[in-house]
């Protein structure tokens, strides 16, 4: 029976690669915010900015998020141009061909997430599990929970927590993206509610009041500091040569220079690029912009505002001194000085501690799982192009999920996790943020060149995106050049300045080796296919319509 297209649905719904689109635009937005990890990873990132002692963290957040707007504009436009599963890979493959896509994808975005899982989960045991246990110990007066909290913070304890977490993540992946979206949405709502309460508590607390509360809290719960923990930390840092400054005396230059550190958190909305084929309605620029640019602006306002509030209560000298001491001399401070500790210190009620811990958990649990999303989606896209075996990307008929890809990730994450916790492997991965940002920069370059390359120009010209120009130049290219300019600054600083910790020679050789292996693997596979009369490069080519 013929019908009239009512326009109530979208004509572009469909199952691009056999993957149902279970994510709404709102789910995609939350996914980006979680990929940034605006609470957990952010707390770790802020603690790494102490080498720039006169940096203003809230200002730094504003600067880096504004600097990333061009990059996210490119991502939003690429998404509207080609809303495909495994987007990052597909965009690069269509722009540069399979070889360069493989080079810029395999190490940072297939292999990388396996050990990102370890580096993401490791702090979780101390940051989110231990506070729950300590709160329960306080609530039920059961010291055994404190022992458990101490145990999960040891290396072996963290490893077993990691095994549990990776199994949890694999379970979520196997249950599919509809379940993932629901879990993520509820976590987000709880997390936002918790953040709201923390903000209210901070607003109701004065600077002097915090100093007393913190010292008392540390004395009562950790039996440290003799009721003067706050001052002790300041004194110890000063004695060790750290020159802390108040927020009012911070400099714009240092605030800009912490941008590449803050990028460890704020560039990761780009992680959503692989998932765009599973989000409904992203072929519309306003929807893809809501995800990438909306997520960036939301993260910027929330994080800059929250950090300004926190630092105005905690004190910039104290905040940076505590981070300095923890990084340089752990004996001066008994636990990592992440802001969960400061928040818990705002009240003596174990119920409030528990609420802080619940909030931290809400911001934690679904976050490292997105490493598996990234890795599995790219494996699926590569499998669709037959760069990886077809079985890797095949969906289970019962679960509707790529079971083989999830299992590969699960085993890979466990293996690299063990190496991470029990060997010196973590040193080899120091430069990975650099490699990941290179992958994002390569995508930005792909977007910049999209209107001009032979294979991508027809896609661009056929898209409403081609309407957006600036002085006759495609807006995607203008945004791309601006985005690449900031990447150039970041890369210069990553290579030239030791304080970023991303220019370790051994790690560089490890990454170069891994990239070389993936490139050789691709060439070998291409030659093998060619012997069979197939050119795998044609998989990526756009058929002309003229």
């Amino acid at each position: 029976m013929p019908s009239i297209f009512s326009g109530s649905g979208t004509p572009f719904q469909g199952y691009a690669t056999g993957m149902p689109r279970f994510f709404s635009v709102f789910d995609g937005f939350i996914y980006g915010v979680y990929a940034n990890s605006i609470v957990i990873a952010a707390a770790l990132t802020y603690s790494l900015t102490w080498p720039w002692n006169d940096a203003n963290i809230p200002l730094g957040i504003l600067m880096v998020c504004l600097a990333f707007i061009p990059m996210f504009t490119v991502y939003a436009m690429l998404t509207a141009l080609m809303p495909r599963a495994g987007g990052e890979y597909v965009w690069k493959a269509r722009a540069f061909g399979g070889f360069w896509a493989c080079v810029f994808i395999f190490t940072p975005l297939v292999l990388g997430p396996w050990f990102y899982m370890a580096s993401n989960v490791a702090p979780g045991s101390a940051m989110v599990v231990a506070p729950v246990l300590i709160s329960l110990a306080g609530l039920w007066d059961m010291p055994i929970f404190v022992d458990l909290a101490i145990m999960v913070s040891t290396r072996t304890g963290t490893w077993w927590f990691y095994v549990f977490y990776v199994s949890f993540a694999a379970g979520v992946m196997l249950l599919g993206m509809r379940f993932y979206a629901r879990f993520q949405r509820w976590s987000f709502f709880v997390g936002i509610l918790a953040l709201g309460t923390w903000i209210v508590m901070l607003l109701a607390t004065g600077s002097a009041e915090f100093q007393t509360s913190f010292s008392d809290f540390v004395q009562e719960t950790l039996h440290w500091g003799d009721g003067e923990a706050y001052q002790r930390i300041l004194d110890a840092a000063r004695e060790d040569g750290f020159s802390a400054v108040p927020l009012a005396e911070t400099s714009v230059k240092s605030s800009f220079l912490i941008g590449p550190v803050l990028a460890y958190t704020f560039m990761y909305i780009a992680w959503t690029g692989t998932l765009v084929g599973e989000i409904r309605g992203v072929h519309k620029l306003k929807n893809s912009s809501a995800i990438f640019l909306g997520g960036n602006i939301f993260s910027m306002i929330l994080c800059a505002g929250f950090m300004w509030l926190l630092i105005s209560r905690v004190g910039n000298e104290f905040f940076t001194s505590a981070n300095f001491l923890w990084a340089t001399d752990g004996e001066h401070i008994p636990v990592p000085p992440h802001y969960g500790l400061y928040l818990m210190a705002l009240s003596r009620s174990p119920w409030f501690w528990l609420w802080v811990a619940v909030g931290l958990n809400a911001w934690f649990w679904i976050w490292p799982t997105n490493n598996m999303v990234m890795s599995t989606r790219i494996m699926m896209a590569m499998s669709n192009d037959r760069v990886l075996p077809v079985q890797v990307g095949t969906l289970s008929r019962v679960l509707g999920t790529p079971v083989t890809a999830v299992l590969i990730c699960y085993i890979g994450a466990l293996l690299l996790g063990w190496l991470y916790f029990f060997t010196g492997f973590s040193r080899l991965t120091l430069n990975m943020p650099f490699m990941t940002s290179l992958a994002f920069a390569a995508t930005t370059l792909a977007g910049t060149l999209f209107p001009f390359l032979k294979n991508t120009r027809p896609v661009y010209e056929n898209s409403p995106i081609s309407r957006y120009t600036l002085l006759g130049i495609p807006l995607i290219s203008v945004a791309g050049v601006l985005g690449l300019a900031y990447f150039a600054v970041m890369f210069y600083l990553y290579i030239m300045d030791d304080r970023y910790g991303t220019n370790d020679p051994l790690s560089a050789w490890f990454i170069i080796g891994s990239v070389t292996l993936s490139a050789l693997g691709y060439l070998w596979y291409k030659a093998r296919r060619r012997r069979k009369g197939m050119d795998i490069e044609v998989t990526h080519l756009e058929i002309p319509v003229k």
Binding site: M1, P2, F5, F12, Y15, G18, N384, G400, T401, G533
Partner: protein, 312 residues
């Protein structure tokens, strides 16, 4: 060595059709096989209202414009996505909304016009090139579709025919499928379908080199998976995907073991599998995105030399 391109389910997308007729020279293939679901099923109405304005609803947005270029662009977008644009007065719009018969009549007119224009384009591209395009019906294609394809050496209406590739491989073409929840036109009961297939197969002697171009995928092979939430009833155990293929097709493949079988019907099931020696392929469809999804298959004297999916 002979290479063929198999694609399916372009569902009225003008962009995909243009790609299809260019694919021969682009991929260097002699024969292109289109496995059914050629036409779309929806009219895209652009209504004229007072004061010279046109209104339409596209992609969840109300559009109201008097700009001829905007309307033309909207029509082009609709054609590329597989819809049939039609400009109407508000009175005609009312009639079309209320009368299935009027819609039927109009859609036939629009499909006829569209196919005629497509054939004109394909004659320009394929005439004298030695390349051929086999077109099969299937799914929601209208029953009169075959009448719109005149006899031709280049664009060949393949429904219910046994054709031959240049290398002599016979291709059995059948667009009918088993009854589905979508209640398509080209559907029949499984036992009748089985009889039809057996009759066709009996026409060929070289079954070892035969290619089955059958719109319906073989039952329960993964090639026929449909997300369960698209169906009125979910599959066993609340499965995420339910099999929607044909038992008759599966039976003839298992019984005769042709070289290759090509299928469509389920647009999300971009899969490959083997039933005995037979390689079964379903490239799925990305027609709404204007992407031609297919498989390139190289055949040599011994059988299938290689194959690979493409999305151009």
């Amino acid at each position: 060595m002979q290479t063929i391109l198999f694609a399916t389910g372009i569902r009225g997308s003008q962009r995909c059709w243009k790609k299809l007729i260019n694919a021969g020279s682009f991929y260097g293939v002699q024969t292109i096989i289109l496995g059914g679901n050629l036409t779309g099923g929806d009219i895209f109405l652009i209504e004229q209202c007072k004061a010279g304005y046109w209104t339409a609803r596209w992609d969840r947005e109300n559009i109201r414009t008097s700009d001829a270029a905007t309307i033309a662009e909207l029509e082009s977008q609709a054609r590329d996505a597989g819809f049939y644009p039609h400009r109407a007065t508000s009175e005609e719009g009312e009639v079309l909304r209320s009368s299935a018969e009027a819609r039927d009549k109009l859609l036939r007119k629009l499909i006829t016009k569209s196919i005629s224009s497509w054939l004109k384009q394909s004659r320009k591209k394929l005439a004298g090139s030695g390349k051929r395009l086999f077109v099969l019906s299937g799914g929601a294609d209208p029953p009169y579709l075959g009448e719109l394809f005149p006899d031709s050496d280049t664009v060949i209406w393949a429904q219910n025919k046994v054709l031959q590739l240049e290398n002599g491989c016979p291709v059995i073409n059948q667009g009918f499928s088993e009854p589905t929840p979508w209640k398509g036109t080209w559907e029949m009961e499984e036992d009748r379908l089985l009889d039809l297939l057996e009759t066709q197969i009996s026409e060929i002697s070289d079954i070892y080199r035969a290619i089955f171009n059958m719109h319906a995928p073989p039952f329960n092979t993964g090639l026929d998976d449909v997300p369960a939430d698209e169906l009125p009833e979910t599959g066993p155990m609340g499965a995420r995907y339910a099999p929607m293929g044909s038992r008759a097709v599966r039976r003839v493949i298992e019984k005769y073991q042709p070289l290759l079988s090509l299928h469509g019907l389920t647009q999300g099931s971009r899969r490959q599998t083997r039933l005995g020696r037979t390689l079964c392929l379903n490239p799925g469809s990305l027609c709404r995105l204007g992407i031609l999804s297919g498989f390139l298959i190289s055949l040599d004297a011994r059988g299938i030399h290689s194959f690979q999916p493409v999305q151009g």
